[in-house]
């Protein structure tokens, strides 16, 4: 058997290594790959780089083992970065981590003891019971169904529990509306719910070992003869394969299953579904993926990145008020209220509060909402004026607009660095929100990095420079009156020098918005 090599950059396996290869560190599974899919053909064999999420953590010494189909391709100690200390891949609770099939760095079931596996299965059962009691035709799906049918156990390289439901609707708009109602029903039953797209939710259920089990809830529905299932599956699968539900057993827990599980597993994983393949990645029909993307996705893509930014780079983000906050404070009458849209870590809104102004704060990022709440609580004791605002969701913009239109006195809107994070739809919703909330008085105050310089905008990939003329046009389209536009040197997200920053002041009169 030809041998593989392991370096800081990746692994090189022989050309003959075409099947899935499992990688373990000190006897613990960390990652798997398929050389032809993930690698590049070189003179020495298939060169496969370490996954992006793993690469930054490769520092230290560990025994690396590469296995394919029971054969060992490599088994030796490796000092990553030339470092002699042990390489540790643990979470904050000390639990070993691995790269899951989605490329995320997480705990996977192979490193989860039997008691925890059973608790995950019980949490999944609770989710299925609640969904079915609320009227949804829900059943076990994806990896959990595969594990249950194969041997009644969770699959070792999986990290989430998966359930699906068969929607009776044939129109994507109705499927989304049904998913909105499902989200409310689950929250009222006490579940912590995160919306992942227009038709799939993630439920978070705490386990005794400190982590949350994630239960994905995917919509399935027919449009004509084609069956679509979130994530990205599409193809032929008759209703009779899904409903009425039967049962399967997972980790000793009996769970609702599709009527014909084998047929569903073939739809999900292909005809070879019975053969274990840790590196399996689906090849979904492109037309189906395009449809599902257009119908359900593309409006919450940056939420995770913003959460990671606020959590991971907390020390780099200034906590003192920005220069724009001081400028706005001088512009507004003393005691006038301010609602900050896109409040980030709460640095400016807290300062406005300390200046004696009534405040409200909104952000898209859950981490930002929590940090602002804590900052305001430290300044004022309990406070309940910080809320979520997803500007791509018209419901979110309309509700925030209605709330701000009903405050005891009119509030001005303040947004620093916000507009460069928004697409056209979200920008239009911001103008809609402003038109609703400013008809009684107050002004809209914007600051943002402007076009006209080659300097990149920060944070990279989350923010872009904006042409002030486009902002002025958008405000006017929604009936706003732009009173002031100025462009000059200023400060970026991290308070570093920025050669071109725009400030815009606009107001709405009592006229109807257009």
């Amino acid at each position: 058997m030809p041998h593989a090599t392991v370096t800081d950059a990746g692994v090189v396996v022989p050309w003959t290594a075409r099947g899935p290869v499992a990688v373990s560190f000190d006897g613990r599974y960390v990652w798997s790959f398929a050389a032809r899919r993930d690698g590049r053909r070189t003179t020495g064999g298939w060169r496969v780089p370490w996954p992006d999420v793993l690469q930054p953590r490769l520092s230290g010494t560990t025994r690396v083992r590469l296995e394919r189909g029971g054969a060992t391709l490599f088994d030796s100690a490796v000092a990553f970065g030339g470092r002699p200390e042990p390489l540790v891949l643990h979470d904050r609770h000390g639990h070993p981590l691995a790269v899951d099939k989605m490329g995320h760095f997480t705990r996977v079931f192979s490193e989860t003891d039997d008691d925890v596996r059973r608790r995950v299965a019980e949490s999944t059962r609770k989710a299925l019971v609640d969904l079915r009691e609320a009227g949804y035709d829900a059943h076990l799906s994806y990896g959990c169904l595969l594990g249950a049918v194969r041997d009644g156990r969770m699959i070792g390289h999986d990290s989430d529990a998966d359930v699906a439901y068969l929607s009776p609707h044939g129109s994507p708009a109705d499927v989304i509306r049904e998913s909105f109602a499902m989200e409310r029903a689950l929250r009222r039953r006490g579940w912590k719910v995160v919306r992942m797209s227009g038709a799939d939710l993630k439920l978070l259920h705490p386990l005794p070992d400190g982590r949350d089990v994630h239960i994905d809830v995917f919509a399935g529905f027919h449009v004509g003869d084609t069956f679509y299932l979130l994530g990205s599956r599409s193809g032929r699968l008759p209703r009779a394969a899904l409903t009425p539900t039967g049962t399967v057993t997972l980790e000793g827990v009996e769970l609702p299953a599709p009527a014909r599980p084998e047929e569903v597993l073939e739809f999900l994983y292909g005809a070879d579904w019975r053969a274990p393949d840790p590196s399996f990645r689906s090849v979904d029909p492109a037309q189906g993926v395009h449809r599902l993307d257009g119908w359900f996705r593309g409006f919450r893509t940056d939420a995770i990145a913003w959460n990671e930014l606020y959590r991971g780079r907390r020390a780099e983000i200034p906590s003192a008020p920005s220069a724009f906050a001081r400028w706005a404070d001088e512009l507004l009458p003393p005691g006038a209220g301010i609602a900050e849209i896109g409040c980030g870590n709460g640095r400016d809104v807290t300062w406005f509060f300390e200046r004696g102004r009534p405040v409200r704060a909104f952000d898209f990022s859950g981490a930002a909402v929590r940090q602002t709440r804590r900052r305001l609580e430290r300044a004022a004791g309990a406070i309940d004026d910080v809320g979520a605002l997803a500007l791509n969701d018209s419901r979110s913009a309309l509700v925030a607009g209605a709330e701000l239109a009903r405050t005891p006195t009119p509030m001005s809107l303040y947004a620093r660095g916000l507009v460069g994070c928004l697409d056209d739809e979200a920008l239009d919703h911001l103008w809609l929100l402003a038109s609703m909330s400013l008809r009684r008085g107050g002004v809209l105050l914007l600051e943002f990095p402007a076009t006209g310089t080659a300097e990149p905008s920060v944070p990279a990939r989350l923010h872009r420079r904006i042409d002030p003329s486009g902002i002025v046009a958008g405000i006017r389209r929604r009936g706003g009156l732009v009173e002031q536009v100025e462009v000059g040197p200023g400060q970026d997200f991290f308070d570093r020098h920025d050669p071109r920053v725009a400030r815009v002041v606009a107001r709405w009169t009592t006229q109807e918005s257009r």
Binding site: I176, A181, G198, G294, F296, V369, A388, R395, V399
Partner: protein, 74 residues
Amino acid sequence: MSNRRTARRFVWDAIHLPRRVRDLEAAVVENRQLNRRIAELTDIVAELLVPVADRDEARLQELLSRYRADTLAP
């Protein structure tokens, strides 16, 4: 003359076909995205605006708070 015009037209169409396909694909995506907009507006009408028609101020305040907690949590 007519054949030459037809040939020119054919070449013109062939050259511009990729751009027309891109435009059509973009239009299809825009139309697919309307599904979410319809669902959002229908949801807010059903959950908030229909009860608002009762003009019960206290009930409206409660509805706004509840809709935010159940539907718009981060």
